[in-house]
C-alpha cells in the first residue's frame, strides 16, 4: 500500500531579483546570512532577503519562535496553519515545504492529499476542518473570522494558548507567502 501514499514533491526556489553575492556582501549582510569561513553556502532565499539584513534578522528570529517554540500547539498543527495560508496565497513553494513537514510530523498524508486534490473546502475530520476553516478565513479576509470558528476550536479541546499559537502560525505565513510568492518562484529540485 505504501506505493499509493500521496506525496508532495520537494521544490526549490528561484528569485526574480539578483540575490546578494557572498563574495561582495557587506559586513551586516554577511552577519545576517551567518557566513563564516566554514559556511559559505547560503540559499538563494536567504541571499535575496539579505538585501535588507535588518528586517531579515528580526523576522527570522520571530519566524523560528512561532514555528518551533516548545510547548503550546502541536508542531504538526502549526505546519497545518502554514499550509492553509500558503494554499490561500497560492505560494506553491511554501505549500510544498510545509505540506511535507506536516506529513512528517503527523503522518497524515490523507489531509494533504485532500487539500491538494479538492482544496481547503474538501472533507476533513471535524477538528482538522475547524483548524483549516479558521486559518483560511484569517488568511483571506482577517476581519471575517467569527466567534463560531474559534468556538469550534475550543470545542475540539484546543486551549486559548494553543489558539494563540495557531493565529501566529497562519499570520506569519501571511508574511512569508508575501515574500516567497512575490519575489520568486518554485522550480524543480536539481537532482544532480
Amino acid at each position: 500500500m505504501s506505493g499509493a501514499r500521496f506525496k508532495v514533491k520537494a521544490l526549490s526556489w528561484s528569485p526574480y531579483i539578483e540575490p546578494v553575492d557572498v563574495a561582495t556582501a557587506n559586513e551586516e549582510q554577511l552577519a545576517a546570512m551567518q557566513v563564516t569561513p566554514s559556511n559559505t553556502k547560503v540559499s538563494p532565499y536567504v541571499r535575496t532577503l539579505a538585501h535588507d539584513p535588518e528586517s531579515y534578522v528580526a523576522r527570522t528570529k520571530l519566524f523560528n519562535a512561532i514555528m518551533y517554540a516548545k510547548g503550546g500547539l502541536d508542531r504538526a498543527e502549526r505546519e497545518l496553519g502554514a499550509l492553509v495560508a500558503s494554499a490561500v496565497n497560492r505560494c506553491v513553494y511554501c505549500a510544498s515545504v510545509h505540506a511535507r513537514r506536516y506529513v512528517e510530523l503527523s503522518g497524515r498524508d490523507e489531509v494533504v492529499e485532500e487539500i491538494y486534490v479538492r482544496g481547503l473546502d474538501g472533507s476533513f475530520d471535524d477538528k482538522t476542518k475547524a483548524i483549516i476553516d479558521f486559518c483560511k478565513t484569517l488568511s483571506e479576509t482577517p476581519s471575517h473570522v467569527t466567534k463560531e470558528q474559534v468556538q469550534k476550536l475550543r470545542d475540539h479541546g484546543m486551549s486559548k494558548a494553543e489558539i494563540v499559537d495557531l493565529v501566529h502560525s497562519a499570520a506569519i505565513f501571511g508574511w512569508a507567502n508575501r515574500l516567497m510568492h512575490t519575489l520568486g518562484h518554485s522550480v524543480p529540485v536539481d537532482t544532480k
Partner: protein, 163 residues
C-alpha cells in the same frame, strides 16, 4: 501593553494578556520587526513617513481602521505631507506622485489584496521604476509585516470574545 494588546482589546488583567506573555519571543519579536520595517536604521531612502503612509493605506485595505489610525499617528510624527496623506487615505496617486512612488503604491496594493496573482512582471515593474534590490526587499518586508500584524490582531481579538 503594546500595540497588539491595544488593538486586540487585551487588558493587562486578562487571561489572554498572560498567555501572550508566555510567548515573549512572539511579543518582543513582533515589536522588533515593526521597528525594522517602519523605522529602520537603514531605510534605503524609503523614509519613515512613506513607510507609515503605506502602512495606513494597507491597514485600511485589510479592514483594520484602528490599525490604520495608529499608523496615521506615526505618519503625523514623521511629517505628513499632502502627498503622503493621500497615500494614507487610499487615494489614487495624484499628479504630484512620480513613477517611483506610483510603482510602490501599485505593488503595496497588489501584494496586500491579491498576493496570489503576483508574477515576475510585478517585480520587473518595480525595477523599471528605479527601485534598487534593497528597496524591493525593504518594501516587500513592510507590506508583508502589516499583513501579518493585521491577522494577529484579528485573531487575538476574536479569541478574546470566546470563553
Amino acid at each position: 501593553m503594546d500595540q497588539i494588546d491595544h488593538l486586540s482589546g487585551i487588558a493587562p488583567d486578562t487571561e489572554l494578556y498572560r498567555i501572550r506573555r508566555e510567548r515573549p519571543d512572539f511579543v518582543d519579536g513582533t515589536e522588533l520587526c515593526r521597528q525594522t520595517v517602519l523605522t529602520p536604521a537603514h531605510g534605503f531612502d524609503l523614509d519613515h513617513a512613506l513607510r507609515a503612509a503605506l502602512a495606513v493605506r494597507m491597514a485600511r485595505f485589510i479592514g483594520r481602521e484602528d490599525l490604520a489610525r495608529t499608523y496615521d499617528g506615526m505618519l503625523a510624527n514623521a511629517g505628513a505631507t499632502p502627498l503622503f496623506s493621500g497615500i494614507a487615505a487610499g487615494s489614487e496617486p495624484g499628479v504630484e506622485a512620480d513613477g517611483f512612488l506610483r510603482a510602490i503604491l501599485r505593488h503595496a496594493d497588489l501584494v496586500t489584496k491579491t498576493p496570489r496573482n503576483n508574477t515576475r512582471a510585478d517585480i520587473e515593474a518595480l525595477e523599471a521604476a528605479g527601485l534598487s534590490n534593497p528597496q524591493i526587499i525593504a518594501l516587500s518586508e513592510l507590506i508583508a509585516f502589516v499583513n501579518y500584524e493585521a491577522r494577529v490582531i484579528a485573531g487575538l481579538e476574536i479569541l478574546g470574545e470566546v470563553e
